[in-house]
Every structure is written in C-alpha cells, then in structure tokens.
C-alpha cells in the first residue's frame, strides 16, 4: 500500500491540529490547576483560580474527544493499536480527567473546608497527572516505540523511560508556565502578582526542560526516516528549536510584565512543539524505534477514501462554526476576575443559580 494519499495526509494534519488545539487550550486549564496551590493564599484565591477557567474548560476538553473520534474514523488501526498498547497510561489520564472534571461543579456545593480541600486536590492532581502522562506519551511517540506485529506491548513501565520522563516534566513545566501566564491575564490584585511571580519561575524551568527534550529526541534519530515521504530531520528540529525560542521569549516577556505577549509566546511554543512532533512522526502514525518497516504508516492505517471524503465535507462545514462560537466565548468572558469585596464563602450550590 502507498505510504499515504492526499486525503490521509490531510487527516493526519487535522488530527495534529486537534491535538495542538487541545494542548493550547487545556494546557492552560492544566496549568491553572497545577499552579493554584502556589499562587493561592486562601480559599477565595483557589476559588478564583477555578473560576478563571470555569466557563471554558469543558469546551477545551472536547478538542481531545474530537481528536480521539477523528483518529477512530480516519485511522482505525492507529486508534485501535495505540490505545490497547498504551492501556494503563490512557486509563490513568482518564481517571485524572474524571477527578478534575467533576471538581469544578462539585467544589462549591458544600460550605465545608474539607469538602473544598478534596476538590482542590482533585483538580490539582488531575491536572498534574494528565499533563505528565500526555508529555510522556508524546515523547514516546516522537521517539518511536519498540513495536512488534501486534503493535506496542511494552506496557506502562516501557513508556516510563528516562527520555519520556524528561518529556513529561517538560509538559508539566510548559503547561504550568502557560497556565500561570493565563492566570496573570485573568486575575487582578495580589493574586495576579503572585501568578506573575510563579510564571517567571515556571518560565525558566519550562525553557530548560523543553530544550533538553528537543535535544534528546533529536539525538535519538528516526529509524522510520527512510519511509517514502518522510520529512528531513531538520524540519522537526527547526520547529522544535523555534518552540524553545518562543518559550524563551515568553519567559523574558513575563519578566518585563508583558503578560499578553507572553501568552502568545507560550501558546506558539505549544503549537510549534506539536508541529515538530507530528512532523517528525510523518508518515508514520505509530513510529517504531526498532526499524522502519515496523512503523504503522498513515497509508496502512487510513480509512477508505470515501470515509475520509465524508469527514472532510463535514469538517469543512462545521469547524469554522465551532471556532467562531468558541472564540466568541473567550470574548464574552474576557474580563479579569475580581476578588469579592466581602470575602464571603461561595453560596452552597452555586452554579447556574
């Protein structure tokens, strides 16, 4: 079978964009969850952090579901082999997403410090675990997995190799930085100042860890590079270096108090990193670290052209609409949150009320 066709190349790119959009958007949700304990002095601060992403986190998470669904439809083998292979890792992500998903709605339901504590921890731990495992997973993908005919069978332990753990920590730091900058833009007063301080610290760590990951992955080489259509190694490397540069710029901008521009920088760094990852993987969907012929390619995994045509038409019609209304949401909720004058406890059962 040909390595790829035009339509399968399009869907590979679209899935890459969906993941990039997901990490751009939920990246700051995770980041806010992770830095909340660092920037908060009291319950009201923690509440402000959660409300900073309150109106948008659910819509952001749907990018993941659509990436999953699009992979299922456009590349059934990719969907089937990857998820059974990365079984426990994906399971842990799902548990993390459940814990943080309900924390938003549940936290304010009881006026009890221990109850809120539980959901603050759930939000923090859920964000942290999900971010870490996504980082580990994508570092493994871009480095290549040891594959057999049955796909990846190395289990969770096999995924937690030193290189991937560095990648996981890089994801943690980048999202924490991205989230801290987002929080600086969404809050005011002392909370904003503390968010800016955390952003400055996270920025340095994120730059170092992302740079280390880029260097280590690039040094690993790509056995699947010999596949027809593979991009020369310089393309993903340049994208990776640009991502580090964007992140470093953001770190400098944060120091100079230019939070808006810094957010553009952290966002660009995430998008460029995903571009580097998908560029490096192409034309494999599951790259093999142990030989080019073992990689699962775009062409082998792709659905029949008719399915891809149907999906392309549907996506062409509805994606602009989705982007429009999701963008509008951010416009509606563009204002900074204010700390309530009277530090009253949140009304029990608030939400939709």
């Amino acid at each position: 079978m040909a390595t790829y066709t035009g339509l399968s190349a399009l869907w590979f790119s679209l899935i890459g964009l969906l993941w990039a959009g997901y990490f751009f958007l939920e990246g700051f949700d995770f980041g806010v969850g992770m830095v909340s304990p660092l920037v908060s002095r009291d319950d009201t601060d923690r509440r402000l952090c959660m409300n900073a992403v309150g109106p948008v986190w659910d819509g952001n998470e749907v990018w993941l579901l659509v990436a999953g669904g699009a992979t299922f439809a456009a590349f059934p083998l990719w969907y089937g082999l990857l998820f059974q292979g990365a079984y426990l890792a994906l399971f842990l992500v799902l548990l993390a997403l459940i814990a943080r998903g309900v924390s938003f709605e549940f936290r304010g339901k009881f006026d009890d410090p221990r109850w809120r504590r539980v959901w603050d921890v759930a939000n923090f731990a859920g964000s942290l675990v999900a971010a870490l495992i996504w980082g580990v997973a994508f570092t493994n993908f871009v480095h290549g997995l040891p594959l057999s005919a049955a796909g990846y069978t190395g289990g969770l332990i096999g995924l937690l190799n030193p290189l991937a753990l560095v990648g996981g920590l890089a994801a943690l730091a980048v999202f924490a930085f991205h989230g801290a900058v987002f929080l600086s833009l969404k809050t005011s007063g002392e909370l904003m100042q503390r968010a800016q301080r955390v952003a400055r610290m996270a920025g340095g760590a994120a730059v170092i860890l992302l740079a280390a990951t880029v260097v280590a992955v690039a040094a690993g080489g790509r056995p699947w590079q010999t596949l027809a259509g593979a991009l020369p190694g310089t393309v993903p490397l340049v994208l990776g270096v640009l991502a580090v540069a964007a992140l470093a710029t953001a770190a400098l901008l944060v120091i100079r108090g230019r939070d808006g521009l810094a957010f553009a920088g952290t966002g660009a760094a995430i998008l460029l990193t995903m571009g580097a990852i998908f560029g490096a993987m192409w034309p494999a969907v599951i790259p093999a670290s142990n030989g080019a012929s073992l990689a699962l390619t775009v062409g082998a995994a792709a659905s029949h052209p008719y399915t891809l045509e149907v999906m392309t038409v549907v996506a062409a019609i509805f994606t602009p609409l989705v982007l429009l209304y999701q963008g509008w949401t951010y416009w509606v909720f563009r204002r900074r949150l204010q700390r309530p004058a009277a530090v009253a406890a949140p009304a029990p059962g608030a939400g939709g009320g």
Partner: protein, 462 residues
C-alpha cells in the same frame, strides 16, 4: 478471562454513563422550556423553577460528561479488533458527534452557567436551547453508530475491515430512527419523572408559601410531560419491535424466551421456574407477542431453535442464542417500569384535573419512587438491546469474542475494579448533591443575596 472482564467493564462504564445521559438530555430540555416560559410570560415563578432544576441538571451533566470521556476511548482500550474492523464506519458518526454535538454542548453550557449576568436574557435563553440541541444531536450520532452494529447498512467488507459505501444509508438506517425516537422520548420522560418526584415532594410546603403554588405548577407540567412521552416511547418501541422481527429475529424470540416458532404467539407477563419451556407458573397474554412483532393476530414469530438452526447454517456451527434469562427479564423490567410510569403520571394528571394535586400522601410517595422507574427502564432497555445481539458485536459480521483487545486479563481486571470504585463514589456524591439541591430553599433562588458572588464585578460562579 480477559474477554469476560472486557465485557463486564464495557457493561459497567456504559450503563453507569447512561444513568446520567437521559437525565441530562431530559433536564436540559425541561429547563430550557421553563426558562422560555419565564421569559415569554415574564414570570418569576418559572424563572425560579428553571434555576432550581438547573442546579440539578448541572450535577447530572457533570457526571455524564466525565464518564462520557471514558467511552470515547473505551473502544480502543478494550475492543481494539472491533475498532479496527468498524472504524471506517463506526468512527465517522463518533467523530461527527464530537464536532457537532460535544462542542455545542460544552461551549454553551459554559455560557449558560457563567453568562446569566453577561448576556441579554434572550441570548442567555438561546444558550440553554443550544445545549439541549447539542445533547439531542449527540444521541443521534452515537445511536447512528450503535444502530449500525444492530443492523449494518451502506458497507462492504474489504481486507478484513468494514468499509463505508453509503453514508446516507447509515444515517437513514431504519434502526437508527426508531431507536433515536425511543431513546430521546425516554430521556424526556426521565427528566420529567425527576421533576415530578421532586416537585410533588416540595408541594408539601405551607399553603400560604409561594413555593407550594410554584411546585404544584411544576408537578402538573411534569406529570403531563411524562404521560405523553412514555406513551410515545412505547409507540416508538413497538415500531422497533417490528423492525427487530425482520432484522434481528433471534433477539425478538429471546425477549420472550420463545423456543419454537408459533403463529398467534402469546406474551408471558411473568414466568416462575426456568425459561426452557417447562415453567412452574406463568401469566400469558394470548396473541400479544404476535401483535408486537408482526402487527397481526396470528402472525408468525420465529423461535430460538429455528433461528439457531438458520444462523448455524448461514454462519457455521456455534451458539447463536443470547443469554435468555437476561434478555427475558431485562425486557420485562423495561416494559414493566414503563407501564408503572404511565400509571404514576396518569394519576398525577388526574389529580391535577380534579384540582387535588399535592393533597394525597400516596401520590407523593408514588411520584417520589417514580424517579427511579425510568432509570431502571433505560438501563434494562439497553441491557436487552446489547445482550440480545450476542454473540454478535456487529450483527452478522463480527462476533464479540473476536472484537476484544489483546490486553492482559490483569490490566483489564485492575481498570475494571478502579472504574467500579470511582463510579460508585461518583454515584454516591451525585445522589447526595441532588438531594441537597432538591432541598434548597426556594425563596433564596435567583434573588440578589444569593447572587452577590456571581455579579459581573467578580465573575465567580463555581
């Protein structure tokens, strides 16, 4: 072992998810209707009612959303071979569900929760309607995928994969439209039964309390809605039964544990003993099964033994009958719960007609207990639908045993146990929070003191 565990896991995560899905679909619609009445009639009572039930709706939605995330990946986790076989077809509606329904639902729910003070009342009303439309679209597309597993259309099998040849055929599948109507109507009834049970319970307030009048209004509204939607659900279900008779005759026979082909087959209401043809005691309604399956008094209903022989001749040796006690009793649980719902809601409508709503203690108890009826009916209906298709995962094309992932039994056991623990915790929390929300003082809803923290100045809601 891994296969059995994977089946248990899928059953647990889907049935649990589906406790909340119909509730969410139903409540989104009901809250949207209440909020519309509030705006159109400039009516403060409807406004408060929409906020009151809106809180309960959000609890259900939250649990439904997080358990839904699991399902998007469950096929790849535990049913990898199935995913690879059907992805060309099954994946498309799943992806479209995400793009058309999940985005709509999740984005506008954020706008609805946080936008009350930020959007004009009309725009805010539009957001809850878009959420409701999103939930219904979601049902349509996921049922399109499921209907294809029940009755595959618009495909060929090529190189070990089912390949889509006609997308319109998948969307026009008769199985899809029948089950879409049945499922969405049942979902409206589910939301209605919750509103009914809680409202009747709140009508106990002192006669001069405005709360009493408000919840009496909600009770009448919900009773009428449940009555209409359950009757329509039954009609749609009857239509489904006739499709089953043609498309999956084994499932129809298994619903009744009908061993041998009969003309003018009777329907057993209750069987004590075993289902193998020598029951100790049973109550039968003559000709009813023929009527259900074939719409004729003496219509032929094919028996399990005949279907077994026919399928063995067609697909090769093997057991093609589902687990009969499960199909038999799940079907009866569904129908029985539906009939009880008609009784409770008809009682409510009659009391309303007699202007005695809220007076009787017995109706109050029945309506409160009635909250669980649709939950039982929804779960048992799906258990019947899915268990009745066995041994097939895709009817006639792939057997369930062939669809499973290569994951080891230990991993599946571990994740299944973890899901049971997490989901049980979620269920307990959801029930506690709904009970709390159902007790919320009505006069505190929607008045400024309640909303000091949610003014535009702070932007706080959660």
């Amino acid at each position: 072992m891994a296969l059995d565990l994977a089946r248990w896991q899928f059953a647990i995560v889907t049935v649990f998810h589906f406790f909340f899905v119909p509730m969410t679909i139903g409540l989104a619609f009901l809250v949207a209707v209440m909020q519309t009445l509030a705006l159109v009639r400039k009516d403060e009572t409807w406004d408060r009612l929409s906020r009151f039930f809106g809180r309960i709706f959000l609890i259900s939605l939250a649990v439904g959303v997080v358990t839904g995330i699991v399902l998007e990946f469950e096929f790849g986790l535990n049913w990898s071979a199935f995913s690879i076989f059907v992805g060309n077809i099954f994946g498309a509606p799943l992806a479209i569900e995400g793009l058309l329904a999940f985005f709509l639902e999740s984005t506008f729910i954020g706008l609805w929760i946080f936008g009350r003070e930020r959007l004009s009342p009309r725009l805010h009303l539009a957001t809850i309607w878009l959420v409701s439309i999103g939930t219904i679209l979601s049902a349509f597309f996921i049922l399109a995928a499921n209907a294809w597993m029940q009755h595959p259309v618009g495909y060929t099998v090529e190189g070990g994969q089912a390949v889509l040849t006609n997308f319109w055929a998948v969307l026009a599948n008769s199985t899809l439209w029948a089950s879409f109507l049945h499922t969405v109507l049942a979902a409206l009834a589910t939301g209605g039964a919750l509103v009914l049970g809680i409202s009747v319970w709140r009508v106990r307030a002192a006669p001069d309390d405005p709360e009493r009048a408000a919840f009496r209004r909600a009770t009448a509204f919900a009773a009428a809605l449940v009555l209409v939607t359950v009757v329509l659900t039954a009609i749609a279900g009857d239509f489904q039964a006739r499709l089953l008779d043609v498309q999956q005759p084994m499932k129809m026979a298994a619903a009744e544990a009908l061993y041998n082909t009969q003309n003018g087959a009777s329907f057993s209401l209750l069987t004590i003993g075993n289902l193998s043809g020598q029951p100790v005691f049973q109550i039968r309604v003559p000709h009813l099964l023929s009527l259900i399956a074939d719409m004729s008094w003496n219509g032929q209903v094919v028996g399990i033994n005949q279907m077994q022989a026919a399928e063995a001749a067609k697909y090769g040796a093997g057991n093609y009958a589902p687990v009969l006690w499960l199909t038999y009793w799940s079907f009866r649980a569904m129908v029985g719960a539906g009939i009880l719902m008609i009784a409770v809601s008809a009682w409510g409508v009659w009391l309303w007609w007699r202007k005695q709503l809220g007076a009787g203690r017995w109706f109050r108890r029945a309506a409160l207990a009635g909250i669980v009826l649709p939950i039982i009916a929804n779960a048992s209906g799906w258990i019947f639908t899915e268990a009745g298709r066995q041994p097939w995962i895709v009817y006639g094309l792939m057997q369930t045993a062939k669809g499973v992932s290569t994951v080891g039994a230990g991993d599946v056991a571990l994740t299944t146990a973890a899901f049971v623990v997490v989901y049980t915790t979620l269920a307990v929390l959801a029930v506690v929070l709904v009970l709390r929300a159902a007790r919320h003082p009505f006069d505190e809803i929607g008045v400024p003191p309640d909303d000091t923290d949610t003014t535009p100045a702070t932007g706080l809601v959660y």
